[in-house]
């Protein structure tokens, strides 16, 4: 199977596109850093025993007054920025993948059904999707999270999903509409295949590539959205800070010239989104034959 992958056309195209390779390496690198954070981080920033006020607000190690082992400096509680970034990355990626999986599944299924079954379900769900879509995803997420009280990572995932599923539903439905009239679907119908079988065996394989493309773009959007929500203080709880919240905390020290508190978490956030976008650009060109 590995040999089959390596020899496939898709993989060869992938190797020929340097930005796709760079993008995917960045993504894999960040993913590994997040998964193995407890092993890589020199301290557990949320273990109070490892903190000391003597280490407060130290600059990065290469600047005067920098101090080992705090490679990228420390924050106001003496937590190493390198460690908080690793742990923050976990939260950011968990929310990102959580929303993409949940919203992607729900949205795609609704889109498939709405495109296939054009009765009341199709009309009601698409009216709802159009309505939500013409409003802003960000504003809706701020609203939902802003007035919900008990918050954890799961609440954040659910709230963003509630605002985000329409992206998948609308595009999937559009693609289903154009596929549903094809001869092979009519043929399957005429030999008496069940609706479920037609949807999953004959329609889904023909619309899956656009779902993959939207998922990649959406992952970047959701990671930024979560950062924004946490920056505004309506996102993840203080006990599980994501990259966005680290930046929010660093903002208080910006005017005091403590730049490392926002530059490093910000650079991490930017790098990972750039990586995803580079890979998503390649996917779009490769999987969407219309563009070639």
């Amino acid at each position: 199977m590995i040999r089959k992958t390596v020899n496939s056309k898709l993989f060869k195209h992938y190797l020929r596109d340097p930005s796709a390779v760079i993008g995917s390496i960045i993504c894999l690198f960040m993913l590994a850093a997040a998964v193995f954070a407890p092993l890589i981080a020199p301290q557990n920033p949320y273990d109070l025993k490892s903190l000391s006020y003597r280490n407060c607000l130290k600059p990065p190690i290469w600047v005067k007054d920098g101090q080992a082992p705090f490679l990228l400096g420390t924050d106001e509680h003496g937590r190493g920025i390198f460690s908080t970034i690793l742990y923050g990355l976990r939260v950011s990626l968990a929310v990102g993948f959580g929303v993409v999986i949940l919203a992607g599944t729900i949205g795609s299924i609704i889109g498939l059904l709405a495109g296939f079954h054009r009765g009341w379900f199709g009309i009601v769900s698409m009216r709802l999707a159009d309505t939500l879509f013409s409003f802003s995803t960000t504003l809706l997420a701020i609203l939902i999270l802003g007035i919900t009280e008990k918050k954890g990572i799961l609440t954040v995932i659910l709230a963003i999903t509630l605002a985000d599923w329409v992206r998948y539903a609308r595009i999937t439905r559009g693609n289903v509409l154009s596929v549903a009239e094809e001869d092979y679907v009519l043929a399957a119908k005429s030999v008496g295949a069940s609706d479920i079988r037609i949807i999953f065996r004959h329609i889904l394989p023909n619309v899956i590539s656009s779902i993959v493309i939207i998922s990649a773009v959406d992952l970047a959007i959701v990671i930024m959205l979560e950062a924004t929500l946490s920056f505004l203080g309506v996102g993840v709880p203080l006990t599980e800070p994501s990259l966005g919240m680290l930046i929010a905390q660093g903002r208080e020290y910006l005017y005091a010239g403590k730049w490392w508190l926002i530059i490093f978490p910000g650079a991490t956030l930017g790098t990972i989104v750039v990586g995803i976008n580079l890979f998503a650009d390649w996917l779009r060109e490769e999987l969407n034959p219309k563009l070639n």
Binding site: T138, I144, I147, A227, F231
Partner: protein
């Protein structure tokens, strides 16, 4: 066309009804605004009275229906925190937001389209690569981060531009403008660039893709072959035919622009209505939240309609039935 506009307006009213219903539905699960209003020394009886006075003792769907009835009479209620009519509160702050958003959109459109055209004409040049790398960063950095970086560079390090509020403003009728003083315009620069940056990066990328595609068309080759000046080929033949998707995206992006204005106004302490919305969310100020959301639904509807009408100007073949 007329029937189309009517249909869209009905849809817009649907959006407003739906999102305001969502608000009331969510409010029942939230912190008690009465508690924050009366303070902790109030007796339970006093709290009951306040609750009754505000109509908060009724089930959420009744509260919602009462809201709709009053809103139809132009009454959006009073703010819980300072007892002023919500409508006045929002309208007072609207000019600040409108000036910021317009200026940001202007920056995004003008710079975005011109850079996009320049890049598509000369794809391999150093400038093009630089612009494309910049646009990748522009769509990959969230608005709040762009704002903080601009503050760090232009205010903390270079100490060149102010970052708090609107500066000197002039009152003209009900409109308080910051555009008439040098100081006011200086205050507008960083927030406007912050807000416009994401949209600008999107426009650069889309314009480049569209113009590059159109430049391959036969009619462009014909235009060159006829010996038309490049100004006419590029702007009249190529750009005009690539603008429709760009306009669509600008229209869709305006909704998000309003959401991002919330972030920009917070970072720069811009006294606009989006910041009012955020502080009312922190303070459980229900009437302000609902009124703002309903207003935004109509603003977004109005923007979308304008874009639709603009399409027919760009491409007379488009007709709405």
């Amino acid at each position: 066309m007329f029937a189309y506009i009517i249909r869209r307006v009905i849809q817009g009213i649907g959006v407003a009804l739906l999102v305001s219903f969502l608000c009331f539905f969510l409010f029942q699960y939230v912190g008690d605004p009465v508690l924050t209003m009366v303070g902790k020394n109030a007796t339970p009886k006093q709290m009951e009275e306040v609750r009754k006075l505000l109509g908060l003792d009724k089930p959420y769907y009744i509260q919602y229906l009462v809201f709709v009835k009053n809103a139809l009479h132009g009454d959006f209620g009073k703010s819980y925190t300072n007892d002023l009519p919500v409508f006045t509160l929002i309208i007072e702050r609207a000019p600040a937001t409108i000036e910021l958003a317009t200026f940001a959109m202007f920056i995004a459109t003008v710079f975005g389209i011109s850079l996009g055209v320049i890049v598509s004409l000369n794809r391999a040049s150093v400038l093009s690569r630089f612009v494309m790398a910049g646009s990748l960063l522009g769509i990959s950095l969230p608005t709040f981060l762009i704002g903080l970086l601009l503050i760090l560079v232009f205010s903390v390090i270079l100490q060149a531009l102010p970052v708090f509020g609107r500066g000197d403003v002039t009152q003209i009728g009900f409109w308080r403008t910051g555009l008439l003083t040098f100081n006011g315009i200086k205050h507008l620069i960083l927030p406007a660039f912050t807000l416009g940056m994401y949209e600008m990066a999107l426009i650069v990328r889309l314009t480049r893709a569209e113009v590059s595609e159109v430049l391959e068309e036969d009619y462009i080759r014909t235009a060159w072959a006829k010996g038309l000046p490049s100004r006419i080929v590029i702007f009249k033949h190529a750009l005009r035919n690539s603008l429709i998707p760009v306009v669509t995206m600008i229209g869709l992006g305006l909704g998000e622009l309003i959401a991002f204005a919330t972030i920009t106004e917070t970072i720069f302490q811009w006294p606009g209505m989006c910041r009012l919305f955020l502080s009312s969310i922190y303070g459980n100020d229900y009437p302000v939240i609902v009124a703002y959301i309903v207003l935004m639904a109509f603003v977004i509807l109005f923007i979308n309609l304008t874009v639709d009408v603009f399409y027919t100007v760009l491409n007379p073949k488009i007709q709405y039935d």
